[in-house]
Amino acid sequence: MRFVEFTLKEGFFQKTVKFSEIANIIYSEKNTAGKTTFLRTMFYTLGYPVPSTKGIKFEGMEFWITVENNDKYYKLYRHNSYLSIDDGNENIDYSLPTDFYEIQALITGCDNRDILDNLLGASYMDQEKGWTLLNRGKVIGNISFNIEALVRGLGGKNCADELLQLEAVKRQLKKYEYMHSVAEYQEAIRETGEDIEYDAPDEVIDRRIEVLRSEKEPIADELKQIKSILRKNKMLVEYIADMKLTVQSPSGEEIPVTRDTLVGFIDNNEFLTARREMLTADLEDINRQITSLEKQKGKEEQLFKVQTAIEAFDSDIKRISVDAIATQRIIEQLKKERQKLQERIRSMTKQDNGVVLELHNCISAYAQELDVSETYVAPNEDYIFTNDLKSLSGTILHKIVFSFKLAYIKLIKEKTGLILPIVLDSPTGREVEHSTVEKMLKIIQRDYSRHQLIVASIHDYDLKDKKIIEFKDRLFSSTDLMKVGE
C-alpha cells in the first residue's frame, strides 16, 4: 500500500502533496512547521481516530487521499465522521467509527481484525511515543498496538470466545472497582466526620428540648410556690409586728415581738430564700440549655438550606449499601479470572505459532546489525512478549523498537501480502543519533525497497530516489491559498 496524493483543506487554505512511491522526506528547517500534523492527518483520512494536534481541529477540515494497493487506486475523502471511497468503479459512503474495519479491509485487502487493529502501530512511528512503543501500548491517542493480537492474527489463531470473556470480565471488574470506590468514599466521609446527618437532627434536638421543658415545669411550679410562701410569711410577720406586741420571758425580760424575735422566723426566711435561689439557678440552667439547643436547631436548619452539592452527594452516597469486604473479595476473584484468561489467550496465541519464531529471528538479526549486544535480545522466543523495557537505555531501546517494527512489517507482508508504507516522524532526536538513523534508513531501503518510505524531519537524509517535500513556516503557507474558481 502506498500513499499517492494527499490534499487537506482548512477554510480557504488547501494543500496538496504528491508522494514518491519510493522515498519521501517531509522537510522543514523549523520544528513547528506542521510535519507531525501532516502525517497524522494522513492516517486520520484513512479513518483512524487520530486526535487533533494543537491549534488544528481535524473535525472542521476536509481531506482527500489517494492510496494504491495491489495496483488498485482508492480515493478517500474524509470530513469529520463521514468518509467516502472511490475505487474507480463506485463511490461508497461510510460512517465512522462504525465502518472502520470495512474501510480498512477494502483498502488493505486484509479482513483479520487482529491484524487490522495493529497496522498503524506497525507502519507509523510517532515522534512522541513511537520510539518507545515496542510490543504493546498506545500509538497515537487511543489507538493501541498489541503484539499478542498481531501474532494471533498473523498466525491465523482465533480466540474470539476467550477475548469476549476477557472483555466481559474486564467490564465487570471495572464496575466492581467503581462499587468499591463508593465503599471507600463512604469510609472516607465517615472517617473525616463529615457525615453530618441532615435528616434527623431536628427531631433529636426537639426531643431533648421536650425533655428539658418537662423538667422545667415542676421546678417552675415549686419556685412559684416558694415565692408565694415567702410572701405569705412576710405578710404574717408584718401583721404580727404591726400589732406591736411585747412578751415577757420567765426571767421577766420584756421582749418586743418583731420578725427578729419570732423564734425560727429568720431561719425559715433564709431557708426559703436559699431554696428560691437554688430553684432559680436550676431554672436558668435549663433555660440556657433550651436556648442553646434552639440556637443549634436554627443553625442546623440554616445548614440544611446551604447544603452544598457535595454534601447532598455525600448523604446520597451514604445511603447506598455497599459491602466493602464482599466487593473486595469479588474484585480479587475477577482479577484472578482476568489473569487466567489472559494467560490462556497468550498461550493459545503462542502455541504452534510459527510467527513467534519468525518474528524473533527477524528482530534478533536486525538488532545485531544495529550493534545491539546479544545480551539484550534474549534467545528465548517469549522475549518478543517482554514487558521489561525499563532496563533498556534510550539508544538501545530505540534500536530494538526499530527492529521490532521492521519485523512486524516483514511478517505482515509475508502473511497477508500487504506491503505497508513505513512512516517515521522525526527519527532523529533525543538519544537517537543521526548516524544510527542513517543506518536504519539504509536497512529499510535495502530490505524493504517495495515499501514506500515517508520520513518527516528537520534533517535531510541520504536516500535513494528521494522526494523532498518542503514545508515553510506553517502547514499552510500563502501559496496554499485555494484559488477561487479553479
Binding site: 410556690q225 410569711n233 426566711n269 433564709e270
Partner: protein, 327 residues
C-alpha cells in the same frame, strides 16, 4: 493558638474558683464572705474581724510542666505585695496545682498531694527563692512570715479527677458540720462551683459570696435529703417515696410556711415529747392541712406524719450546720 489560650484561661479560672471555695471552707468559722476576681486571679476572704486573707491561685495546665512555675510565683507575689499595701491582710496565700511550685526537684517531696505549708515550714531553698524574688522585685510590703503555700492536685479533662481534692475538702467540711455527705457532697460542690463560676463569668468576672449564701443551700439540700432519709427509717413504708413525689407541693407548703412551723413547734414544746412520739400521738390533730387532698385515709396519715416529722427534724439540721459554720 487563641483556642489553646482560651481553654488555658478557662482552666485557670476553674482552678481559681475551686481554690476560693476550698479556702473559704477551710476558714468557714472566721469567714464572712469570699470574693473572686478574674483579672488579677485574686481571691479575698473577709473575716469576722474585717481583716482579709489575700490569695493568688495560679494553675498549670500540665501538672508536670514546670517551665512557668517561677514566673507564676513571681506574678503572684507581686499581686500579694500590692494587696499587702492595703494593710488589712492577715494572711497571704499562694495556691497552685503544680507539684513542684519552686521548680526544684529536690524539694518535690514537700509538695506531693494536697499540701499546706506556712512560710517557716517551707524547705530552705523555697524560702530563699521567695526572699530572692521579693528582694529583687521590691515586693517589700509583703511580710514573708504571713505567707503560706498551698498545693492542690487539680488536673485533667475528666472533671471527676480534676475535682478529686476539692471534693475531698467538701467532704471534710461536711463531716465537720455533722452532715452525712452521701448524696449531698457532689451536689453541694456543684452548686458552689456554679454560684462562683457561672455567675462570675456571666457578669464582670468578679463575684462576692457571703457565708450565708454559701451555707443555706447546703442546709436546703440536707433538709431535703438527710431529713427524709431519717424519718423513712421509722415509717417502714415503701410508698413513702411516692407520697413525697406526688405531694411535694403540699409538703413544701406546710413545712415551709411560718404559720405551720410555729403551730407545730409550739405544740411540740408544750407536749415535752420526743419528735417521734409527738408525731405518733398528735398527727390526727393536723388532718386539717390535708383536707383539700384527694387521697385515701392511709395516704393522708402518712402525709401528715411526713410534714410533722420534717418540721421537727429540719430545725436540728439547721441549728447544727449553722453552728458548725459559725453562721
Amino acid at each position: 493558638m487563641s483556642d489553646r489560650n482560651a481553654s488555658a484561661a478557662a482552666f485557670g479560672w476553674d482552678f481559681q474558683v475551686n481554690s476560693a471555695m476550698l479556702l473559704m471552707l477551710e476558714n468557714i468559722r472566721e469567714a464572712k464572705s469570699v470574693r473572686v476576681e478574674g483579672a488579677d486571679e485574686d481571691i479575698e476572704i473577709v473575716l469576722q474581724d474585717q481583716s482579709k486573707i489575700y490569695a493568688q491561685a495560679k494553675a498549670v495546665v500540665k501538672p508536670d510542666d514546670y517551665s512557668n512555675v517561677i514566673e507564676k510565683l513571681t506574678k503572684a507575689l507581686e499581686t500579694l505585695s500590692l494587696a499587702a499595701k492595703n494593710g488589712d491582710g492577715s494572711l497571704f496565700t499562694y495556691m497552685t496545682n503544680s507539684a513542684n511550685p519552686f521548680n526544684n526537684q529536690r524539694t518535690i517531696s514537700y509538695f506531693t498531694g494536697r499540701t499546706h505549708l506556712g512560710y517557716d515550714e517551707l524547705p530552705d531553698s523555697a524560702q530563699k527563692k521567695i526572699e530572692e524574688i521579693i528582694q529583687q522585685k521590691g515586693y517589700t510590703d509583703l511580710n514573708m512570715h504571713h505567707l503560706d503555700v498551698r498545693v492542690i492536685p487539680f488536673y485533667g479533662n475528666d472533671l471527676k479527677n480534676r475535682y478529686k481534692e476539692i471534693q475531698a475538702c467538701v467532704n471534710e467540711f461536711l463531716s465537720e458540720v455533722n452532715v452525712a455527705s452521701q448524696g449531698i457532697n457532689t451536689e453541694i460542690m456543684q452548686i458552689w462551683q456554679r454560684d462562683l463560676f457561672q455567675n462570675a463569668t456571666q457578669t464582670d468576672r468578679a463575684i462576692s459570696i457571703s457565708k450565708k449564701e454559701m451555707i443555706w443551700p447546703l442546709i436546703v439540700l440536707v433538709v431535703d435529703k438527710a431529713v427524709a432519709s431519717e424519718y423513712k427509717k421509722d415509717f417502714n413504708d415503701d410508698e413513702i417515696d411516692d407520697i413525697e413525689r406526688k405531694y411535694k407541693l403540699i409538703i413544701n407548703q406546710n413545712t415551709l410556711s411560718y404559720e405551720m412551723i410555729s403551730r407545730v413547734m409550739t405544740d411540740h414544746r408544750k407536749s415535752k415529747q420526743k419528735p417521734k412520739e409527738f408525731v405518733e400521738n398528735h398527727w390526727n390533730e393536723y388532718l386539717d392541712v390535708v383536707n383539700s387532698v384527694e387521697a385515701d385515709e392511709q395516704t393522708k396519715e402518712s402525709l401528715v406524719k411526713i410534714i410533722l416529722y420534717r418540721i421537727l427534724v429540719q430545725r436540728h439540721y439547721i441549728r447544727d450546720i449553722k453552728r458548725g459554720a459559725n453562721l
